[in-house]
């Protein structure tokens, strides 16, 4: 929605901001209210990147709002700093630096832990502002006398004083904030933010250093908060100590949820609703202190019934009215082009090192053992796969196949033993680094980015191969990355999802999701691909197609496949390893395995005995 037409949103925002001083007074908005809404909106832009896009709900934004505000206000009132704009920027930098340090602590945990830690942090800042630092912050008196900005253009000086005059300055800041936020959201980093929100586990597994990106989002939010805090001081000519109060964080969270998270403009809409309702309830209805209760009830109802807030609700309504959502794309059951024929013609993506076609072992595991308490999941497994091989692994349920895979991809660290990949010891490395080296896995249970489209899913996986595990190209358009579009198109063709490119994952049929699961692993361009039960849960027809698909992607690639479908596996694999009770039972060509009596014994259990009796 945010990317359809280039600069459309920017132009609309500019137009709305220019029109506002002419339209809003007619609706009864005082300029001061509009300015306050814009400051909240700017504060919320950063918060929405953190919460709406990256999925990190922080209740501690007041800490950065206050930090930025008080640093700027202190410079301007006590330190005799003359330049308002520069002071605002210094405040912003101070807030961002604080955000970095706090982020290092708060992001050690996720989910509710993160929320609790941010609450505690906000409270600490409040107390520090009031007590130990009251000489600098004025304690409960705040810092009065914050000047308004003026710009000397040489031939003329612009003074922004109060009301609509100050509006020009704040509106310009807001506009800049929107432009920057849109660039961030449309950058590769923005795409990875949504990946972290939807499925942090998979974002890690396709080779992104999500801790670094989360910290980035946290710092961005802190920077926006710091600048908005400074503007608050300018707007009120006074830096109020309640900027640091927990209520500030709470109000920001509520406004964002009311307006709609993940929309960038949600916080602005939420603030407009909040402030005008507050005025209306207090002044027009004479409700006095009860206004907050009404807003609280409105908020609870919105969270219960309108998950995506007012903007999300409007978008859905628009979709309903124009019938976009009803026109579904063709279902899986409709005739599709045969997989295989066209794919075989498609060029394979370049393996990690195309120049030399190495032979010999690509992966070697020695004495691999995994113990969970008293349970021995894997015991002393020796396992070698050569370049270009297609290896199958079979074994009864509970044989330790998935644990074995998890150790190979370093999701789980072995109790003892070592793993060597392309001559490098990867034992003890993490999933992200191993994926960057060219070893990745498709999961037994689909691990997709459920809120995104098929293309966006593949883009996220492809980005890791093209950009490395961490890169701060915040302002780069995602379309401008060389090779990305080709790689995504190619993967789409490989897994036969070209016709479903822009379909949200939630609307895919099971078989399509399964193929996308494989596509995610493929898009990282691995030199060794592990597939954990790629055929699980498929209909016979889907199986036939997927086997064809697997055959075609195995050309020029090393693969290890776990599956229970022995016919399929025997058809695909050159060699098969049989695991049983955490050990390698036997290894050999499909023919050898089929005729091996121990394997028959393992699979058929005591049936032989029963038959013999």
């Amino acid at each position: 929605m945010l990317t359809k037409r280039r600069y459309l949103i920017e132009i609309l925002t500019a137009a709305a901001l220019i029109a506002a001083p002419f339209v809003l007074p007619l609706l009864g908005f005082a300029p001061n209210t509009v300015n306050r809404i814009l400051v909240w909106g700017l504060f919320g832009l950063g918060f929405d990147i953190l919460f709406g896009f990256t999925g990190l709900l922080s209740f501690g934004q007041s800490a950065f709002y206050g930090t930025g505000g008080f640093v700027a206000a202190y410079l301007l009132t006590r330190a005799g700093f003359p330049n308002v704009i520069l002071a605002l920027i210094i405040g912003m930098i101070a807030a961002a630096a604080t955000g970095y340090l706090i982020g290092l602590i708060a992001l050690r945990r996720t989910g509710i832990y993160f929320a609790m830690i941010t609450v505690a942090i906000a409270e600490v800042f409040f107390f520090v502002e009031f007590n130990p630092l009251s000489d600098f912050t004025g304690g409960e008196n705040g810092l009065p006398g914050v000047p308004t900005p003026s710009i000397d253009l040489g031939f003329a000086a612009l003074h922004f004083t109060t009301g609509w005059s100050l509006y020009q300055f704040i509106a310009f800041c807001y506009f800049l904030g929107v432009v920057i936020a849109l660039r961030i959201v449309r950058s590769p980093v923005g795409a990875i933010f949504s990946a972290i929100r939807d499925n942090p586990l998979r974002a890690t597994a396709v080779g992104h250093n999500i801790h670094g990106y989360k910290l980035t989002a946290f710092v961005i939010a802190a920077a926006y908060a710091g600048f908005a805090g400074g503007l608050l001081g300018v707007l009120q000519a006074f830096m109020p100590p309640d900027a640091f109060m927990f209520d500030t964080s709470g109000q920001l969270v509520m406004q964002t949820a009311i307006g709609g998270r993940g929309t960038l403009f949600g916080p602005l809409v939420g603030a407009a609703v909040w402030l005008s309702l507050q005025d209306f309830l207090q002044a027009a209805l004479g409700l006095g202190a009860a206004w907050k209760l009404v807003l609280g009830v409105v908020f609870v109802l919105l969270v219960c019934f309108l998950r995506r807030g007012i903007i999300g609700g409007l978008v859905d309504l628009y979709g309903l009215l124009t019938g976009q959502r009803t026109a579904k794309e063709p279902e899986e059951s409709e005739p599709q082009p045969e997989i295989g024929s066209e794919i075989a013609a498609a060029p394979m993506p370049a393996p990690h090192r195309p120049d030399d076609r190495p032979s010999g072992p690509i992966l070697q595991a020695k004495g691999l053992t995994k113990r969970y308490g008293g349970l021995l999941a894997n015991s002393d497994i020796d396992f070698t796969v050569n370049h270009g091989e297609l290896r199958g692994i079979i074994g009864p349920n509970g044989a330790g196949k998935s644990t074995f895979f998890k150790m190979l991809t370093c999701e789980v660290h072995p109790t003892s033993g070592s793993i060597t990949f392309e001559g490098r010891d990867i034992t003890g490395m993490n999933v992200t680094d191993v994926c960057q080296l060219g070893l990745t896995k498709s999961y037994q249970v689909n691990q997709l980015f459920a809120g995104l489209t098929v293309r966006e899913n593949l883009v996220i996986a492809a980005l890791s191969g093209l950009r490395g595990k961490f890169k701060l190209d915040l302002f780069r358009s995602i379309e401008s990355i060389p090779g990305l579009a080709e790689r995504v198109e190619h993967t789409l063709a490989l897994v036969n999802l070209t016709r479903r490119t822009d379909t949200p994952v939630a609307e895919l049929a099971y078989g399509e999701k399964r193929r996308l699961e494989i596509g995610l692993a493929l898009a990282t361009s691995p030199s060794l691909l592990l597939l954990d039960e790629p055929l699980a849960g498929m209909s016979p027809r889907e199986r036939v197609e997927t086997v064809k698909l697997l055959k075609s992607i195995s050309q020029g690639r090393t693969m290890i496949i776990i599956d229970h479908d022995m016919d399929a596996l025997f058809e695909l694999a050159e060699r098969v390893t049989v695991l049983q009770e955490g050990r390698v039972l036997v290894e050999g060509t499909p023919e050898e395995i089929k005729n091996n009596s121990t394997v028959q014994e393992a699979y058929l259990g005591g049936v032989h005995g029963v038959l013999a009796a």
Binding site: Y113, M116, E123, F127, N131, G296, F299
Partner: protein
């Protein structure tokens, strides 16, 4: 330098505060552990316990009845809240659960503010616990000593329920794996309702027991909620013993720091939390893998 009698009395203050925090945090942590919902309205539950007790007290004049009334009312409120709203959020993301309980907390605070006003209310301690007790080396308010005992009894009761009853066994099993408990044919949702009630009651009970120590205001739960979070992070989410240990640690940190400079109490609390996060990210008594 250090005034020793003052130091010892601060140690006792820390013990009383720590015991209260332990009780409130236990409530929060068993709700989270079982239901997977972090109740941001838990501080409001604490506050409402105080007010419900205050109301009972002003009609009956009995402190014991006030404690019973306050606890029962909050338990019923917790059950109602679970039935009407929370249960629709079990399958929604954590963020939505946080948002809705946060909103409910604000509603509760504002309702109380409307009904009772912002000025503080006092509940006097029962006659037999008024005055001060001599401990030989210092004089200490009797009621505060009693708080430690009362809360210890309540924690003991909670322990018995959790570790010695069938319900407690189900709750502890639910903390480990609620899906499994459900598939064993136990009605998990009924257990959830009861747990929510018990957890809320723990906060409500603490609220009325605390009312004679700190005067009641509608915002009295807000600070407590933040302290409770620190307790839970220090002790480990979902751990009952962790909540008690964390509560006592946090109580002592706040009290002892306040002796030197109250402004640094939160800073020290935060430092302790950071240390735990760095050295033992899952809390002192928490188990790995729980988020």
């Amino acid at each position: 330098m250090i005034n020793w009698p003052n130091f010892v009395s601060q140690l006792f203050n820390g013990l009383a505060l720590g015991a209260l925090l332990a009780l409130i945090s236990s409530g929060l942590t068993i709700i989270y552990g079982t239901l997977g919902v972090l109740n941001l309205a838990h501080g409001a539950m604490f506050m409402i316990g105080g007010y419900a007790g205050y109301l009972t007290y002003s009609y009956t004049g009995s402190f014991v009845l006030a404690v019973i009334g306050g606890s029962l009312f909050v338990m019923l409120l917790g059950i109602a809240m679970e039935r009407i709203i929370i249960r629709h959020f079990y399958h929604r993301p954590h963020e939505d659960q946080l948002l809705v309980t946060f909103g409910l907390g604000i509603c509760f605070v504002e309702i109380i503010r409307l009904a009772f006003g912002s000025q503080s209310q006092m509940v006097p301690p029962p006659a037999m616990l008024q005055g001060i007790t001599s401990l030989g080396f210092l004089f200490y308010p009797t009621y505060r000593l009693a708080v430690v005992g009362i809360v210890a009894v309540a924690l003991g009761g909670l322990f018995l329920v959790l570790y010695r009853t069938r319900l407690g066994m189900i709750v502890r099993a639910g903390i480990e794996d609620s899906v499994m408990v459900d598939s064993l044919g136990i009605n998990v949702y009924r257990v959830f309702m009861i747990v929510f009630g018990i957890g809320a009651m723990a906060a409500g009970f603490a609220g009325i027991v605390n009312a004679p120590v700190v005067s009641l205001t509608p915002g009295v739960g807000d600070d407590i909620l933040v302290q409770t979070f620190v307790v839970v992070v220090i002790g480990g989410v979902g751990s009952f013993p962790g909540a008690i240990l964390g509560g006592l640690i946090a109580g002592e940190i706040i009290s002892i720091t306040s002796m030197f400079n109250p402004g640094y109490a939160y800073v020290m609390l935060f430092v302790a939390m950071t240390l735990v996060l760095v050295l033992r990210p899952h809390g002192l008594l928490g188990t790995q893998g729980r988020e």
